[in-house]
Protein backbone atom coordinates (compact mmCIF):
# COMPACT_ATOMS: atom_id res chain seq x y z
CA UNK A 1 0.00 0.00 0.00
CA UNK A 2 3.03 2.27 -0.04
CA UNK A 3 3.04 5.16 -2.42
CA UNK A 4 6.45 6.25 -3.55
CA UNK A 5 7.01 9.96 -3.79
CA UNK A 6 7.52 10.92 -7.38
CA UNK A 7 9.74 13.83 -6.36
CA UNK A 8 11.94 11.92 -3.87
CA UNK A 9 15.60 11.36 -4.58
CA UNK A 10 14.95 7.61 -4.51
CA UNK A 11 18.55 6.50 -4.44
CA UNK A 12 19.44 3.40 -2.46
CA UNK A 13 22.27 5.22 -0.71
CA UNK A 14 19.96 7.95 0.58
CA UNK A 15 18.27 6.93 3.84
CA UNK A 16 16.61 10.29 4.59
CA UNK A 17 12.84 10.47 5.10
CA UNK A 18 12.44 12.10 1.71
CA UNK A 19 14.09 9.11 0.05
CA UNK A 20 11.78 6.61 1.73
CA UNK A 21 8.28 5.91 0.46
CA UNK A 22 5.37 7.65 2.16
CA UNK A 23 3.96 5.19 4.64
CA UNK A 24 1.08 5.07 7.08
CA UNK A 25 1.06 2.14 9.54
CA UNK A 26 -2.70 1.62 9.35
CA UNK A 27 -2.46 0.79 5.64
CA UNK A 28 -0.35 -2.31 6.17
CA UNK A 29 -2.67 -5.19 7.14
CA UNK A 30 0.19 -7.66 7.62
CA UNK A 31 1.66 -5.39 10.23
CA UNK A 32 -1.52 -5.64 12.32
CA UNK A 33 -1.70 -9.39 11.80
CA UNK A 34 1.85 -9.58 13.17
CA UNK A 35 0.88 -7.29 16.09
CA UNK A 36 -2.10 -9.52 16.91
CA UNK A 37 0.07 -12.63 16.74
CA UNK A 38 2.76 -11.32 19.11
CA UNK A 39 0.11 -10.10 21.55
CA UNK A 40 -1.74 -13.44 21.48
CA UNK A 41 1.50 -15.41 21.73
CA UNK A 42 2.24 -13.56 24.97
CA UNK A 43 -1.08 -14.43 26.62
CA UNK A 44 -0.98 -18.01 27.96
CA UNK A 45 -4.53 -18.84 26.84
CA UNK A 46 -3.34 -21.72 24.71
CA UNK A 47 -1.19 -23.40 27.37
CA UNK A 48 -2.38 -26.02 29.88
CA UNK A 49 -3.72 -24.24 32.96
CA UNK A 50 -1.75 -25.00 36.11
CA UNK A 51 1.42 -26.20 34.38
CA UNK A 52 4.72 -24.88 35.72
CA UNK A 53 7.53 -27.04 34.46
CA UNK A 54 9.94 -27.10 32.77
CA UNK A 55 11.69 -24.35 34.68
CA UNK A 56 14.47 -22.62 32.78
CA UNK A 57 16.85 -20.89 35.18
CA UNK A 58 14.13 -21.08 37.81
CA UNK A 59 11.59 -19.42 35.51
CA UNK A 60 8.55 -21.38 34.24
CA UNK A 61 8.56 -22.06 30.50
CA UNK A 62 5.33 -20.17 29.89
CA UNK A 63 6.64 -16.92 31.39
CA UNK A 64 9.69 -17.12 29.15
CA UNK A 65 7.35 -17.42 26.15
CA UNK A 66 5.42 -14.39 27.39
CA UNK A 67 8.58 -12.37 27.95
CA UNK A 68 9.87 -13.26 24.47
CA UNK A 69 6.52 -12.28 22.93
CA UNK A 70 6.55 -8.96 24.81
CA UNK A 71 10.07 -8.19 23.59
CA UNK A 72 8.88 -8.98 20.05
CA UNK A 73 5.85 -6.70 20.60
CA UNK A 74 8.14 -3.83 21.70
CA UNK A 75 10.55 -4.46 18.82
CA UNK A 76 7.74 -4.53 16.25
CA UNK A 77 6.16 -1.36 17.63
CA UNK A 78 9.53 0.41 17.63
CA UNK A 79 10.25 -0.75 14.09
CA UNK A 80 6.89 0.52 12.83
CA UNK A 81 7.52 3.92 14.43
CA UNK A 82 10.86 4.24 12.68
CA UNK A 83 10.28 2.45 9.39
CA UNK A 84 6.56 2.04 8.80
CA UNK A 85 5.56 5.67 9.36
CA UNK A 86 6.59 8.41 6.98
CA UNK A 87 3.85 10.92 6.22
CA UNK A 88 4.78 14.50 7.06
CA UNK A 89 8.53 14.16 7.57
CA UNK A 90 9.64 14.65 3.95
CA UNK A 91 7.59 17.86 3.65
CA UNK A 92 8.78 19.09 7.06
CA UNK A 93 12.41 18.38 6.18
CA UNK A 94 12.05 20.17 2.87
CA UNK A 95 10.45 23.17 4.60
CA UNK A 96 13.26 23.24 7.18
CA UNK A 97 15.87 23.13 4.42
CA UNK A 98 14.13 26.00 2.64
CA UNK A 99 14.09 27.99 5.89
CA UNK A 100 17.78 27.32 6.37
CA UNK A 101 18.50 28.62 2.87
CA UNK A 102 16.46 31.76 3.44
CA UNK A 103 18.04 32.40 6.87
CA UNK A 104 21.64 31.23 6.62
Amino acid sequence: MDRRRSDGPGTTADHSAAARPLREPVRNPWLWVAMALVVLAGVPLYLPTGSIRPLVGGVPYWLLISVAATVAFSALTCWVCLRGWNLAEPAEEAARERDAEVRP
Binding site: R3, L45, I52, V59, T77, W85, L87
Partner: protein, 503 residues
Protein backbone atom coordinates in the same frame (compact mmCIF):
# COMPACT_ATOMS: atom_id res chain seq x y z
CA UNK B 1 3.45 3.60 52.00
CA UNK B 2 2.59 5.07 55.34
CA UNK B 3 4.50 4.51 58.56
CA UNK B 4 7.99 4.47 57.13
CA UNK B 5 10.62 5.10 59.73
CA UNK B 6 13.76 5.13 57.63
CA UNK B 7 13.45 8.66 56.49
CA UNK B 8 12.41 11.87 58.23
CA UNK B 9 14.45 15.04 57.98
CA UNK B 10 16.52 13.81 55.02
CA UNK B 11 13.28 13.00 53.21
CA UNK B 12 12.04 16.54 53.85
CA UNK B 13 15.31 17.89 52.43
CA UNK B 14 15.05 15.76 49.29
CA UNK B 15 11.45 16.82 48.74
CA UNK B 16 12.37 20.45 49.35
CA UNK B 17 15.17 20.17 46.80
CA UNK B 18 12.80 18.58 44.26
CA UNK B 19 10.26 21.35 44.85
CA UNK B 20 12.86 24.08 44.34
CA UNK B 21 14.21 22.44 41.17
CA UNK B 22 10.67 22.14 39.77
CA UNK B 23 9.97 25.80 40.53
CA UNK B 24 13.24 26.89 38.93
CA UNK B 25 12.58 24.83 35.80
CA UNK B 26 9.04 26.19 35.66
CA UNK B 27 10.28 29.76 36.01
CA UNK B 28 12.95 29.21 33.36
CA UNK B 29 10.47 27.55 30.99
CA UNK B 30 7.95 30.34 31.51
CA UNK B 31 10.34 33.09 30.45
CA UNK B 32 9.27 34.53 27.13
CA UNK B 33 6.19 32.31 26.94
CA UNK B 34 3.13 34.17 25.79
CA UNK B 35 0.49 32.75 28.04
CA UNK B 36 -2.10 34.78 26.14
CA UNK B 37 -1.95 32.28 23.27
CA UNK B 38 -3.73 28.99 23.87
CA UNK B 39 -1.43 27.10 21.53
CA UNK B 40 1.63 28.53 23.23
CA UNK B 41 0.35 27.84 26.75
CA UNK B 42 -1.25 24.41 26.26
CA UNK B 43 1.01 22.95 23.56
CA UNK B 44 4.31 24.82 23.98
CA UNK B 45 3.57 26.30 20.54
CA UNK B 46 3.72 22.78 19.05
CA UNK B 47 7.48 22.89 19.40
CA UNK B 48 8.54 20.11 21.78
CA UNK B 49 11.81 18.51 20.73
CA UNK B 50 12.83 14.87 21.19
CA UNK B 51 14.14 15.00 24.77
CA UNK B 52 11.24 17.02 26.16
CA UNK B 53 8.62 15.08 24.21
CA UNK B 54 10.01 11.68 25.14
CA UNK B 55 10.28 12.47 28.83
CA UNK B 56 6.87 14.13 28.98
CA UNK B 57 5.34 11.07 27.32
CA UNK B 58 7.22 8.82 29.75
CA UNK B 59 6.65 10.76 32.98
CA UNK B 60 3.00 11.30 32.12
CA UNK B 61 2.26 7.70 31.20
CA UNK B 62 4.06 6.20 34.19
CA UNK B 63 2.83 7.61 37.45
CA UNK B 64 3.82 6.80 41.01
CA UNK B 65 1.13 4.13 40.87
CA UNK B 66 3.26 2.27 38.33
CA UNK B 67 5.63 1.54 41.20
CA UNK B 68 3.67 1.61 44.45
CA UNK B 69 0.51 0.04 42.97
CA UNK B 70 1.97 -2.47 40.52
CA UNK B 71 4.54 -4.11 42.82
CA UNK B 72 1.79 -5.23 45.24
CA UNK B 73 -0.23 -6.48 42.24
CA UNK B 74 2.71 -8.68 41.23
CA UNK B 75 3.02 -9.80 44.85
CA UNK B 76 -0.64 -10.85 45.00
CA UNK B 77 -1.19 -12.14 41.45
CA UNK B 78 2.20 -13.71 40.80
CA UNK B 79 3.53 -14.17 37.29
CA UNK B 80 0.23 -13.32 35.60
CA UNK B 81 1.01 -9.66 36.45
CA UNK B 82 3.56 -9.76 33.64
CA UNK B 83 0.54 -8.43 31.72
CA UNK B 84 1.51 -4.96 32.99
CA UNK B 85 4.39 -4.98 30.50
CA UNK B 86 2.51 -5.79 27.27
CA UNK B 87 -0.41 -3.54 28.22
CA UNK B 88 1.95 -0.58 28.46
CA UNK B 89 3.52 -1.50 25.09
CA UNK B 90 -0.03 -1.67 23.71
CA UNK B 91 -0.51 2.04 24.45
CA UNK B 92 2.21 2.85 21.90
CA UNK B 93 0.93 0.25 19.42
CA UNK B 94 -2.56 1.80 19.54
CA UNK B 95 -1.03 5.25 19.02
CA UNK B 96 0.15 3.90 15.67
CA UNK B 97 -3.48 3.36 14.67
CA UNK B 98 -4.28 7.05 14.71
CA UNK B 99 -1.36 9.32 15.72
CA UNK B 100 0.33 9.47 12.28
CA UNK B 101 -2.76 10.85 10.55
CA UNK B 102 -4.00 12.88 13.53
CA UNK B 103 -0.61 14.63 13.72
CA UNK B 104 -0.90 15.74 10.08
CA UNK B 105 -4.49 16.98 10.49
CA UNK B 106 -3.76 18.67 13.85
CA UNK B 107 -0.78 20.61 12.45
CA UNK B 108 -2.77 21.66 9.42
CA UNK B 109 -5.83 22.77 11.40
CA UNK B 110 -4.03 24.15 14.48
CA UNK B 111 -5.79 21.92 17.03
CA UNK B 112 -5.30 22.67 20.74
CA UNK B 113 -7.62 20.22 22.54
CA UNK B 114 -8.61 16.67 21.59
CA UNK B 115 -12.17 17.93 21.17
CA UNK B 116 -10.95 20.12 18.29
CA UNK B 117 -10.59 16.95 16.23
CA UNK B 118 -14.12 15.82 17.10
CA UNK B 119 -15.51 19.25 16.16
CA UNK B 120 -13.53 19.28 12.90
CA UNK B 121 -14.71 15.80 11.96
CA UNK B 122 -18.27 15.68 13.28
CA UNK B 123 -19.26 19.34 13.64
CA UNK B 124 -20.52 21.09 16.76
CA UNK B 125 -23.32 19.41 18.65
CA UNK B 126 -24.17 17.08 21.46
CA UNK B 127 -21.27 14.75 20.60
CA UNK B 128 -18.81 17.51 21.52
CA UNK B 129 -20.49 18.01 24.90
CA UNK B 130 -20.40 14.29 25.66
CA UNK B 131 -16.75 14.02 24.64
CA UNK B 132 -15.85 17.01 26.83
CA UNK B 133 -17.74 15.57 29.82
CA UNK B 134 -16.08 12.16 29.50
CA UNK B 135 -12.67 13.79 29.16
CA UNK B 136 -13.17 16.02 32.19
CA UNK B 137 -14.49 13.09 34.23
CA UNK B 138 -11.53 10.91 33.25
CA UNK B 139 -9.01 13.68 33.88
CA UNK B 140 -10.53 14.58 37.26
CA UNK B 141 -10.41 10.94 38.32
CA UNK B 142 -6.84 10.65 37.10
CA UNK B 143 -5.89 13.80 39.00
CA UNK B 144 -7.64 12.57 42.13
CA UNK B 145 -5.66 9.35 42.03
CA UNK B 146 -2.43 11.33 41.80
CA UNK B 147 -3.40 13.57 44.72
CA UNK B 148 -4.17 10.56 46.91
CA UNK B 149 -0.89 8.90 45.92
CA UNK B 150 1.02 12.16 46.42
CA UNK B 151 -0.08 12.45 50.05
CA UNK B 152 0.76 8.84 50.80
CA UNK B 153 4.13 9.13 49.07
CA UNK B 154 5.13 12.30 50.87
CA UNK B 155 4.01 11.03 54.27
CA UNK B 156 5.89 7.78 53.59
CA UNK B 157 9.06 9.48 52.44
CA UNK B 158 9.26 11.75 55.43
CA UNK B 159 8.19 9.13 57.99
CA UNK B 160 5.10 11.34 58.55
CA UNK B 161 7.37 14.25 59.50
CA UNK B 162 5.31 16.06 56.87
CA UNK B 163 1.65 15.15 57.48
CA UNK B 164 -0.36 13.81 54.54
CA UNK B 165 -2.47 16.95 54.01
CA UNK B 166 0.41 19.45 54.32
CA UNK B 167 2.51 17.41 51.90
CA UNK B 168 -0.23 17.35 49.28
CA UNK B 169 -0.97 21.06 49.57
CA UNK B 170 2.73 21.98 49.36
CA UNK B 171 3.34 19.96 46.21
CA UNK B 172 0.05 21.01 44.63
CA UNK B 173 1.10 24.64 45.13
CA UNK B 174 4.47 23.95 43.52
CA UNK B 175 2.72 22.24 40.60
CA UNK B 176 0.21 25.07 40.19
CA UNK B 177 2.91 27.74 40.28
CA UNK B 178 5.09 26.24 37.56
CA UNK B 179 2.10 25.18 35.45
CA UNK B 180 0.61 28.69 35.73
CA UNK B 181 3.80 30.39 34.67
CA UNK B 182 5.06 28.07 31.95
CA UNK B 183 2.15 25.91 30.74
CA UNK B 184 3.09 22.89 28.64
CA UNK B 185 6.69 24.04 28.27
CA UNK B 186 7.14 24.02 32.05
CA UNK B 187 5.26 20.75 32.41
CA UNK B 188 7.39 19.07 29.73
CA UNK B 189 10.70 20.39 31.04
CA UNK B 190 9.92 19.42 34.64
CA UNK B 191 8.94 16.02 33.19
CA UNK B 192 12.54 15.61 32.00
CA UNK B 193 13.76 15.90 35.59
CA UNK B 194 10.85 13.87 36.92
CA UNK B 195 11.25 11.11 34.31
CA UNK B 196 14.94 10.75 35.13
CA UNK B 197 14.06 10.63 38.85
CA UNK B 198 11.50 7.89 38.15
CA UNK B 199 13.98 5.81 36.13
CA UNK B 200 16.64 6.16 38.82
CA UNK B 201 14.05 5.30 41.47
CA UNK B 202 12.96 2.12 39.70
CA UNK B 203 16.60 1.14 39.21
CA UNK B 204 17.56 1.54 42.85
CA UNK B 205 14.42 -0.28 44.00
CA UNK B 206 15.37 -3.29 41.87
CA UNK B 207 18.96 -3.11 43.07
CA UNK B 208 17.86 -2.98 46.70
CA UNK B 209 15.33 -5.80 46.37
CA UNK B 210 17.85 -8.05 44.62
CA UNK B 211 20.44 -7.24 47.29
CA UNK B 212 18.03 -8.48 49.96
CA UNK B 213 17.72 -11.88 48.27
CA UNK B 214 21.42 -12.09 47.41
CA UNK B 215 20.74 -11.59 43.70
CA UNK B 216 19.23 -15.05 43.45
CA UNK B 217 16.10 -14.47 41.33
CA UNK B 218 16.08 -18.10 40.19
CA UNK B 219 16.04 -19.13 43.85
CA UNK B 220 13.08 -16.82 44.47
CA UNK B 221 11.01 -18.21 41.61
CA UNK B 222 11.91 -21.81 42.43
CA UNK B 223 10.94 -21.28 46.06
CA UNK B 224 7.72 -19.57 44.99
CA UNK B 225 6.92 -22.54 42.74
CA UNK B 226 7.14 -24.77 45.80
CA UNK B 227 5.27 -22.56 48.28
CA UNK B 228 2.69 -20.79 46.06
CA UNK B 229 2.42 -22.80 42.84
CA UNK B 230 -0.77 -21.00 41.76
CA UNK B 231 1.23 -17.74 41.49
CA UNK B 232 3.76 -19.40 39.22
CA UNK B 233 1.61 -21.72 37.11
CA UNK B 234 -0.11 -20.96 33.81
CA UNK B 235 -3.08 -18.88 35.00
CA UNK B 236 -6.73 -19.85 34.65
CA UNK B 237 -8.58 -19.14 31.42
CA UNK B 238 -10.46 -16.30 33.12
CA UNK B 239 -7.19 -14.67 34.20
CA UNK B 240 -5.74 -15.03 30.71
CA UNK B 241 -8.88 -13.49 29.19
CA UNK B 242 -8.53 -10.64 31.70
CA UNK B 243 -4.87 -10.29 30.67
CA UNK B 244 -5.82 -9.94 27.01
CA UNK B 245 -8.68 -7.58 27.94
CA UNK B 246 -6.33 -5.32 29.88
CA UNK B 247 -4.06 -5.07 26.84
CA UNK B 248 -7.02 -3.87 24.77
CA UNK B 249 -8.58 -1.69 27.47
CA UNK B 250 -5.41 0.12 28.53
CA UNK B 251 -4.00 0.23 25.00
CA UNK B 252 -7.04 2.08 23.68
CA UNK B 253 -7.88 3.92 26.93
CA UNK B 254 -4.45 5.40 27.70
CA UNK B 255 -3.73 6.42 24.12
CA UNK B 256 -6.90 8.55 23.80
CA UNK B 257 -6.50 10.30 27.15
CA UNK B 258 -6.61 14.07 26.50
CA UNK B 259 -3.08 14.71 27.73
CA UNK B 260 -1.83 11.80 25.59
CA UNK B 261 -3.45 13.27 22.48
CA UNK B 262 -2.16 16.76 23.27
CA UNK B 263 1.37 15.39 23.20
CA UNK B 264 0.79 14.39 19.57
CA UNK B 265 -0.19 18.00 18.85
CA UNK B 266 2.76 19.38 20.83
CA UNK B 267 5.48 17.50 18.89
CA UNK B 268 7.81 19.79 16.98
CA UNK B 269 7.84 17.44 13.98
CA UNK B 270 6.75 14.00 12.87
CA UNK B 271 10.35 12.87 13.18
CA UNK B 272 10.40 13.95 16.83
CA UNK B 273 7.08 12.23 17.53
CA UNK B 274 7.92 8.89 15.98
CA UNK B 275 11.38 8.74 17.54
CA UNK B 276 9.91 9.47 20.95
CA UNK B 277 7.28 6.76 20.52
CA UNK B 278 9.91 4.32 19.22
CA UNK B 279 11.84 4.66 22.49
CA UNK B 280 8.60 4.58 24.49
CA UNK B 281 7.91 1.12 23.03
CA UNK B 282 10.82 -0.20 25.12
CA UNK B 283 10.07 1.66 28.34
CA UNK B 284 7.68 -0.95 29.80
CA UNK B 285 10.62 -3.37 29.87
CA UNK B 286 12.61 -0.83 31.89
CA UNK B 287 9.75 0.19 34.17
CA UNK B 288 6.76 -2.11 34.72
CA UNK B 289 8.90 -5.23 34.09
CA UNK B 290 11.35 -4.09 36.77
CA UNK B 291 8.51 -3.34 39.19
CA UNK B 292 7.08 -6.81 38.40
CA UNK B 293 10.40 -8.43 39.41
CA UNK B 294 10.42 -6.37 42.62
CA UNK B 295 6.89 -7.57 43.47
CA UNK B 296 7.87 -11.20 42.86
CA UNK B 297 11.03 -10.84 44.95
CA UNK B 298 8.81 -9.30 47.65
CA UNK B 299 6.95 -12.62 47.98
CA UNK B 300 10.10 -14.12 49.48
CA UNK B 301 11.19 -11.10 51.55
CA UNK B 302 7.75 -10.57 53.13
CA UNK B 303 5.74 -13.78 52.64
CA UNK B 304 2.11 -14.06 53.66
CA UNK B 305 1.00 -10.41 53.62
CA UNK B 306 -2.74 -9.69 53.53
CA UNK B 307 -4.15 -7.63 50.62
CA UNK B 308 -4.13 -4.44 52.71
CA UNK B 309 -0.65 -5.07 54.08
CA UNK B 310 0.71 -5.90 50.64
CA UNK B 311 -0.25 -2.38 49.50
CA UNK B 312 2.66 -1.21 51.67
CA UNK B 313 5.12 -3.56 49.92
CA UNK B 314 7.33 -0.94 48.27
CA UNK B 315 7.60 1.00 51.53
CA UNK B 316 8.44 -2.18 53.42
CA UNK B 317 11.14 -3.19 50.95
CA UNK B 318 12.54 0.35 50.99
CA UNK B 319 12.63 0.29 54.79
CA UNK B 320 14.47 -3.00 54.78
CA UNK B 321 16.95 -1.85 52.13
CA UNK B 322 17.54 1.51 53.83
CA UNK B 323 18.54 -0.29 56.98
CA UNK B 324 21.52 -2.01 55.30
CA UNK B 325 23.89 0.97 55.29
CA UNK B 326 24.10 4.69 54.47
CA UNK B 327 24.49 4.10 50.74
CA UNK B 328 21.23 2.15 50.53
CA UNK B 329 19.55 4.66 52.80
CA UNK B 330 20.40 7.43 50.35
CA UNK B 331 19.30 5.27 47.43
CA UNK B 332 15.89 4.72 49.00
CA UNK B 333 15.49 8.44 49.57
CA UNK B 334 16.12 8.81 45.83
CA UNK B 335 13.50 6.15 45.13
CA UNK B 336 10.78 7.94 47.05
CA UNK B 337 11.79 11.25 45.59
CA UNK B 338 11.37 9.57 42.19
CA UNK B 339 7.95 8.25 43.14
CA UNK B 340 6.77 11.70 44.24
CA UNK B 341 8.25 13.28 41.10
CA UNK B 342 6.42 10.70 38.96
CA UNK B 343 3.14 11.47 40.68
CA UNK B 344 3.56 15.22 40.28
CA UNK B 345 4.53 14.86 36.62
CA UNK B 346 1.39 12.87 35.85
CA UNK B 347 -0.81 15.23 37.85
CA UNK B 348 0.48 18.38 36.14
CA UNK B 349 -0.19 16.94 32.68
CA UNK B 350 -3.74 15.92 33.62
CA UNK B 351 -4.31 19.35 35.17
CA UNK B 352 -3.11 21.19 32.07
CA UNK B 353 -5.32 19.06 29.83
CA UNK B 354 -8.26 19.67 32.19
CA UNK B 355 -7.69 23.43 32.02
CA UNK B 356 -7.48 23.35 28.23
CA UNK B 357 -10.80 21.49 27.84
CA UNK B 358 -12.58 23.90 30.22
CA UNK B 359 -10.99 26.96 28.63
CA UNK B 360 -11.40 26.06 24.94
CA UNK B 361 -14.27 23.60 24.76
CA UNK B 362 -16.60 24.93 27.44
CA UNK B 363 -15.82 28.58 28.19
CA UNK B 364 -14.59 29.53 24.72
CA UNK B 365 -17.42 27.72 22.93
CA UNK B 366 -20.50 27.93 25.12
CA UNK B 367 -20.00 30.51 27.90
CA UNK B 368 -18.22 33.35 26.17
CA UNK B 369 -17.46 32.63 22.52
CA UNK B 370 -16.31 36.21 21.96
CA UNK B 371 -13.79 36.18 24.81
CA UNK B 372 -10.23 36.93 23.71
CA UNK B 373 -7.80 34.03 23.82
CA UNK B 374 -5.95 35.57 26.76
CA UNK B 375 -9.10 35.48 28.90
CA UNK B 376 -9.86 31.90 27.81
CA UNK B 377 -6.42 30.82 29.00
CA UNK B 378 -6.91 32.68 32.29
CA UNK B 379 -10.29 30.99 32.84
CA UNK B 380 -8.66 27.61 32.16
CA UNK B 381 -5.97 28.30 34.76
CA UNK B 382 -8.53 29.34 37.38
CA UNK B 383 -10.74 26.33 36.56
CA UNK B 384 -7.72 24.08 37.14
CA UNK B 385 -7.16 25.58 40.59
CA UNK B 386 -10.85 25.22 41.51
CA UNK B 387 -10.88 21.60 40.30
CA UNK B 388 -7.77 20.78 42.33
CA UNK B 389 -9.31 22.38 45.41
CA UNK B 390 -12.46 20.25 45.06
CA UNK B 391 -10.45 17.10 44.38
CA UNK B 392 -8.27 17.76 47.42
CA UNK B 393 -11.36 17.65 49.61
CA UNK B 394 -12.26 14.28 48.07
CA UNK B 395 -8.66 13.09 48.37
CA UNK B 396 -8.71 13.38 52.16
CA UNK B 397 -10.88 10.24 52.13
CA UNK B 398 -9.29 8.14 49.40
CA UNK B 399 -11.61 5.44 48.05
CA UNK B 400 -10.51 1.81 47.66
CA UNK B 401 -7.08 0.69 46.56
CA UNK B 402 -5.21 2.68 43.94
CA UNK B 403 -5.59 0.00 41.34
CA UNK B 404 -9.39 -0.01 41.58
CA UNK B 405 -9.51 3.71 40.79
CA UNK B 406 -7.10 3.21 37.90
CA UNK B 407 -9.29 0.64 36.18
CA UNK B 408 -12.48 2.61 36.79
CA UNK B 409 -11.35 5.66 34.84
CA UNK B 410 -10.29 3.62 31.81
CA UNK B 411 -13.76 2.06 31.64
CA UNK B 412 -15.20 5.42 30.57
CA UNK B 413 -12.35 7.11 28.74
CA UNK B 414 -11.93 4.14 26.39
CA UNK B 415 -15.37 5.00 24.97
CA UNK B 416 -13.68 7.92 23.17
CA UNK B 417 -11.58 5.57 21.03
CA UNK B 418 -14.02 5.10 18.10
CA UNK B 419 -14.27 8.83 17.29
CA UNK B 420 -10.49 8.97 16.96
CA UNK B 421 -9.61 5.61 15.46
CA UNK B 422 -12.67 5.03 13.25
CA UNK B 423 -13.42 8.71 12.67
CA UNK B 424 -10.04 9.36 11.06
CA UNK B 425 -10.43 6.71 8.40
CA UNK B 426 -14.11 5.99 7.83
CA UNK B 427 -15.77 8.86 5.98
CA UNK B 428 -19.20 7.35 6.42
CA UNK B 429 -19.07 7.48 10.21
CA UNK B 430 -21.84 9.86 11.34
CA UNK B 431 -22.12 12.09 14.42
CA UNK B 432 -25.47 10.70 15.64
CA UNK B 433 -24.44 7.04 15.90
CA UNK B 434 -21.07 8.14 17.34
CA UNK B 435 -22.93 10.01 20.10
CA UNK B 436 -25.39 7.22 20.91
CA UNK B 437 -22.65 4.59 20.78
CA UNK B 438 -20.42 6.58 23.12
CA UNK B 439 -23.30 7.26 25.51
CA UNK B 440 -24.41 3.61 25.53
CA UNK B 441 -20.82 2.46 26.11
CA UNK B 442 -20.32 4.91 28.98
CA UNK B 443 -23.65 4.02 30.62
CA UNK B 444 -22.95 0.28 30.35
CA UNK B 445 -19.37 0.63 31.66
CA UNK B 446 -20.32 2.98 34.50
CA UNK B 447 -23.49 1.05 35.33
CA UNK B 448 -21.70 -2.27 35.57
CA UNK B 449 -19.07 -0.75 37.85
CA UNK B 450 -21.74 0.80 40.08
CA UNK B 451 -23.62 -2.50 40.15
CA UNK B 452 -20.46 -4.21 41.36
CA UNK B 453 -20.11 -6.34 38.21
CA UNK B 454 -16.39 -6.23 37.54
CA UNK B 455 -16.21 -8.45 34.50
CA UNK B 456 -17.78 -11.17 32.40
CA UNK B 457 -15.45 -14.16 32.45
CA UNK B 458 -12.44 -11.84 32.59
CA UNK B 459 -13.76 -9.23 30.12
CA UNK B 460 -14.17 -5.92 32.02
CA UNK B 461 -17.37 -3.87 31.77
CA UNK B 462 -15.50 -1.11 29.91
CA UNK B 463 -14.74 -3.45 27.01
CA UNK B 464 -18.35 -4.69 26.93
CA UNK B 465 -19.38 -1.02 26.71
CA UNK B 466 -16.79 -0.40 23.98
CA UNK B 467 -18.10 -3.35 21.95
CA UNK B 468 -21.66 -1.99 22.15
CA UNK B 469 -20.31 1.48 21.34
CA UNK B 470 -18.57 0.23 18.18
CA UNK B 471 -21.57 -1.82 17.04
CA UNK B 472 -23.91 1.19 17.39
CA UNK B 473 -21.38 3.44 15.63
CA UNK B 474 -20.90 1.08 12.71
CA UNK B 475 -24.48 -0.10 12.19
CA UNK B 476 -25.89 3.40 12.77
CA UNK B 477 -23.42 4.98 10.34
CA UNK B 478 -24.18 2.34 7.71
CA UNK B 479 -27.85 3.20 8.11
CA UNK B 480 -27.70 7.00 8.16
CA UNK B 481 -24.27 7.96 6.79
CA UNK B 482 -23.21 8.39 3.18
CA UNK B 483 -19.80 7.33 1.82
CA UNK B 484 -18.78 10.92 1.02
CA UNK B 485 -20.29 12.59 4.10
CA UNK B 486 -16.94 13.93 5.17
CA UNK B 487 -13.93 15.01 3.12
CA UNK B 488 -11.06 12.58 3.08
CA UNK B 489 -8.32 13.11 5.65
CA UNK B 490 -5.99 10.80 3.74
CA UNK B 491 -2.60 12.54 3.61
CA UNK B 492 -1.59 10.25 0.75
CA UNK B 493 -4.60 11.09 -1.41
CA UNK B 494 -3.56 13.00 -4.57
CA UNK B 495 -5.62 16.08 -3.65
CA UNK B 496 -4.09 16.20 -0.15
CA UNK B 497 -0.57 15.93 -1.52
CA UNK B 498 -1.28 18.57 -4.13
CA UNK B 499 -2.16 21.07 -1.40
CA UNK B 500 0.61 20.06 1.01
CA UNK B 501 3.03 22.96 1.40
CA UNK B 502 6.22 21.12 0.59
CA UNK B 503 5.19 18.17 -1.57
Amino acid sequence: MTGLSFSGVSGVLVLGAYAIIMLLIGWWAGRGTTSSSARSYYLAGGGLGFVALFFTLYATQYSGNSIVGYAPEAYRSGFSWWQSVPFMVAVIAVYLLFAPRLYVVAKREGFVTPTDWVRHRFGSGKLIVLVAILMLWGLANYLLEQLVAMGQGIAGLTGATIPYEIGVIAFVLVMLIYSWSGGMRAVALTDVMQGIALLVGVGVLLFGALYLVGGDVAGVTTALADTDPEKVAVPSTTTSVEWLSMIVLIGFGASVYPHAIQRIYAARSERTLKRSLAVMAWMPLLTTAVVFVVGIVGTQIFPGLSEDDSEQLVGMIANEVAGINLFFYLMMILLFGGVVAAIVSTADSALLAFSSVVSRDIYGRYVSPDAPEKRQVLVGKIAGIVAVAILLVIAWNPPGTLYDIFVLKFELIVQLAPVFVLGLYWRRMAAGPAFWGMLAGAVIAGGLTLAGVDDFGGVPGGLVGLAVNVVICVLGSLAVGRPDDHPSEDPLAPEARATAPAS
